[in-house]
């Protein structure tokens, strides 16, 4: 069994999956890549993270205390919370290599996942295919996701400026006519 896992898949579909983290507040960062274990490991891009009650009908209440105080006084309430995230599926890996498109089968429920290492990130971010997937997916915080994922990929590419320029150019082709949007995204990526 994979010991490094940080959570498991609890809802899965062709385009995205929902995963629950092993520990509270320990979700992979927004815009980072995760790998779901399996026969053909699936690569997902984290686009939404949430922490809430494990019981759908119960809501946490404000106590007016810091987290440290609460952990001392009422440690049980933290056991009633969980952290989940949603990830956009951007590709998968099989015996023939890495593929920047949707896998034939979505990840299986209860599959474990862990964060992608730099090599895996580079494998899926050398081209701008993931940017296109983000642009085309509905109901996403598209601009912020673009910024976060490009910045993450840039780190994996050892902060190579040439890489950033290439991604910027691809982005400009994807965004085409919306110059304001492009310049806003590029400005934020560069910060």
């Amino acid at each position: 069994m994979d010991k490094d896992y940080i959570g498991e898949v609890i809802e899965s579909s062709t385009g995205d999956f929902l995963a629950e983290c092993l520990e509270l507040n320990s979700s992979p960062p927004f815009g980072s890549f995760v790998k779901v274990a399996g026969r053909s490991p699936t690569i997902g891009l984290v686009f939404s993270v949430s922490t809430h009650s494990i019981e759908p009908n119960r809501r946490p209440t404000a106590y007016g205390k810091t987290e440290e105080e609460l952990r001392l006084e009422q440690p049980q309430i933290f056991e009633l919370l969980k952290t989940e995230f949603r990830a956009l599926i951007t590709g998968y890996i099989d015996t023939t290599g890495a593929h920047p498109f949707l896998p034939p089968q979505p990840p299986r429920i209860h599959s474990f996942f862990h964060p992608c290492d730099a090599d895996e990130v580079r494998m899926f971010t050398d081209t701008s295919d993931s940017l296109r997937a983000i642009m085309n997916a509905p109901r996403l915080p598209t601009d912020d996701l673009l910024i976060a994922s490009v910045r993450g990929a840039w780190m994996a590419h050892n902060r190579d400026t040439a890489y950033l320029v290439t991604m910027g150019k691809d982005l400009s082709r994807l965004i085409r006519d919306d110059y304001d949007r492009l310049s806003s995204i590029i400005r934020r990526i560069a910060q």
Binding site: V165, K169, L171, S172, D177, Y179, S183, R187, I189
Partner: protein, 571 residues
């Protein structure tokens, strides 16, 4: 072949309007200059082209309205080549099948265009040699310079150059004389034609001041210094020639009897002759034949009216003609009787022996004098050549074939403007003398002043910078697809750059002209004194062996001087 450096890809264009390339974003636009020589790699052919224009383009007008801030270099880089890009206009000039090189005398006009996204690359050194030949391929090729930003020489095909009349144009101070000296050196060195140079400003024969480049202000060698006995200096003003430290080979004197009416009529503008002057002159000529000018000038002013009545001419017109022609008398080269051999006969003799002639005007630099003398001499040489050519056509014996003669004239628009081109001998030569083995090398700063008919007959044009729209138009007369070349011509540097187009080059090309320096002198066979001595010694040793030492002593004195003067040979 070495892989060429890619510049971009072809995106659109047409055969008539030329092609358009999208510049690769990795290339700096400022490194791509108008006039640059590039190769478009089509599927089957390679298209040798010239960059004619560059344009900043944007896919989205928003970008232009809200340009990226200076503090956002990433956005600048991202936009470069995507939303904002550079379009480069190319004019294909020559088409060759891949791997094929240009066979002699074969011109390949472009008949098709390369497909979409054909790669455009900077031409490599090998490409230049493939298109323009190289000096190692034979003495018909003469290195005249290099394409912009390249080192491989562009060669002029001198055999083709000598076949037709040619022009060297450029506004004043752009190096016309320099270009002319370069071309003349090539012609003399490669012996493709004999030159007769009407040297108005005394800058071809002996030393001339260099106007630009490394040795600005220094003196450069003239043709006589470079080629020694292959060149003879004739002088109209021997005093001035000697004052400059040059011994002319021959002093030119002209008698009044050698002036024909046809020599005077083209001076209409300079002499302000009336329209009736020609008629009056012909009336005098009808009676006195070749003594017409001598007779006319010998009349006293007050007797002219009487004289006019005698010959039936209009007195007022003849008085005016007499008064104006009187100006000739103050020219020192006009003599009553020749004391030595006739200058034109001597010239013909030199030309027949393949010796090139520089006719210096000394201090007689007035346009009037230049036009008059050039007309008189060229007319007589022209007559001689017609005679020789007819003899050759009759005998069809290669021995009788006259040597190809190139006459160099400056201020050509004075001889060849639309009004006088039909009257001067130079108009005739430019139009039809090719078949009589005489052609012109026209040096001029105002090509728009030259008759269009003459311009369209010019084979090769070497053009330095021209700004005036009319001049540019005139130079490009008779050139197909001239629109692109227009911008190239107007964007040349003021020094050492020229556009060559026409008969002697397979495609128009912008060159940085060859340096006129020690290396050039050496290439032309003119060695520095020490090397000359060594070479002479070696030659003598090769020829005479041991006995050579005596001969060596004899020639040692003469060998110090470059271009020692050949004594005039009496006929």
């Amino acid at each position: 072949m070495k892989t060429r450096t890619p510049l971009g890809v072809i995106t659109k264009g047409s055969l008539i309007e030329g092609l358009e390339m999208k510049l690769d974003p990795s290339q700096g636009v400022e490194d791509v200059k108008a006039g640059k020589f590039v190769v478009i790699e089509g599927a089957k052919n390679e298209f040798f082209s010239m960059i004619t224009d560059l344009r900043l383009d944007a896919t989205n007008p928003e970008v232009l309205i809200h340009p990226p801030q200076e503090d956002n270099p990433l956005l600048h880089e991202v936009l470069n080549g995507t939303s904002t890009y550079i379009s480069v206009c190319l004019r294909p000039m020559l088409m060759l099948e891949k791997g094929q090189s240009l066979a002699n005398d074969e011109t390949r006009p472009v008949k098709t265009i390369p497909p979409h996204f054909s790669r455009v690359s900077e031409a490599e050194e090998a490409d230049v040699a493939r298109v323009f030949g190289s000096e190692s391929m034979g003495d018909r090729y003469f290195n005249i310079g290099t394409p912009l930003d390249m080192e491989t020489p562009v060669c002029l095909d001198l055999s083709r150059f000598a076949e037709r009349s040619n022009g060297i144009f450029g506004k004043t101070g752009t190096g016309k004389s320099f270009l002319t000296r370069l071309v003349l050196s090539g012609l003399i060195n490669n012996e493709k034609a004999v030159n007769l140079i009407f040297d108005m400003h005394n800058e071809y024969g002996w030393k001339a001041v260099q106007e630009s480049g490394v040795g600005k202000g220094a003196f450069v060698k003239g043709l006589k210094q470079l080629f020694g006995e292959k060149v003879a200096i004739f002088s109209l003003d021997p005093k001035s020639t000697r004052a400059r430290g040059v011994q002319p080979d021959h002093e030119v004197a002209i008698t009044y009897d050698q002036v024909a009416v046809e020599d005077v009529i083209p001076l209409q503008e300079e002499l302000r002759l009336n329209p009736t002057a020609a008629e009056s002159a012909y009336l005098v000529y009808a009676i006195y034949k070749e003594k017409w000018l001598r007779t006319l000038l010998s009349q006293d002013g007050k007797d002219i009216e009487e004289f006019a009545k005698d010959i039936g001419a209009n007195p007022i017109s003849l008085v005016a003609l007499h008064r104006k022609l009187k100006r000739f008398e103050r020219y020192p080269f006009f003599v009553d009787r020749l004391s030595g051999p006739d200058a034109v006969d001597t010239m013909m003799d030199y030309i027949d022996r393949g010796i090139h002639i520089v006719l210096e005007f000394g201090q007689e630099t007035s346009v009037l004098c230049y036009l008059l003398v050039a007309n008189i001499i060229a007319r007589r040489i022209h007559e001689n050549y017609i005679h020789k050519s007819e003899k050759y056509y009759a005998s069809q014996d290669i021995k009788d074939q006259p040597r190809q003669l190139i006459i160099t004239i400056e201020e050509a628009h004075k001889f060849l403007n639309p009004f006088t081109a039909k009257q001067t001998i130079f108009g005739t030569i430019a139009r039809e003398m090719r078949k009589y083995f005489v052609s012109l090398l026209i040096v001029d700063q105002r090509p728009s002043g030259i008759d269009e008919e003459v311009l369209s007959q010019i084979g090769t044009k070497i053009t330095a910078l021209l700004n005036d729209e009319k001049d540019i138009q005139a130079v490009l007369t008779g050139v197909s697809n001239a629109a692109g070349l227009r911008s190239v011509l107007a964007s040349l540097d003021t020094k050492q750059q020229a556009l060559i187009l026409g008969h002697a080059v397979p495609m128009p090309v912008v060159i940085k002209t060859r340096d006129y320096d020690e290396k050039f002198y050496r290439d032309m066979g003119c060695l520095p004194p020490e090397e000359r001595k060594k070479k002479t010694k070696k030659d003598i040793a090769d020829l005479f062996g041991e006995a050579g030492e005596v001969v060596e002593d004899l020639v040692a004195v003469g060998s110090d001087r470059p271009g020692n003067v050949v004594p005039f040979r009496k006929r």
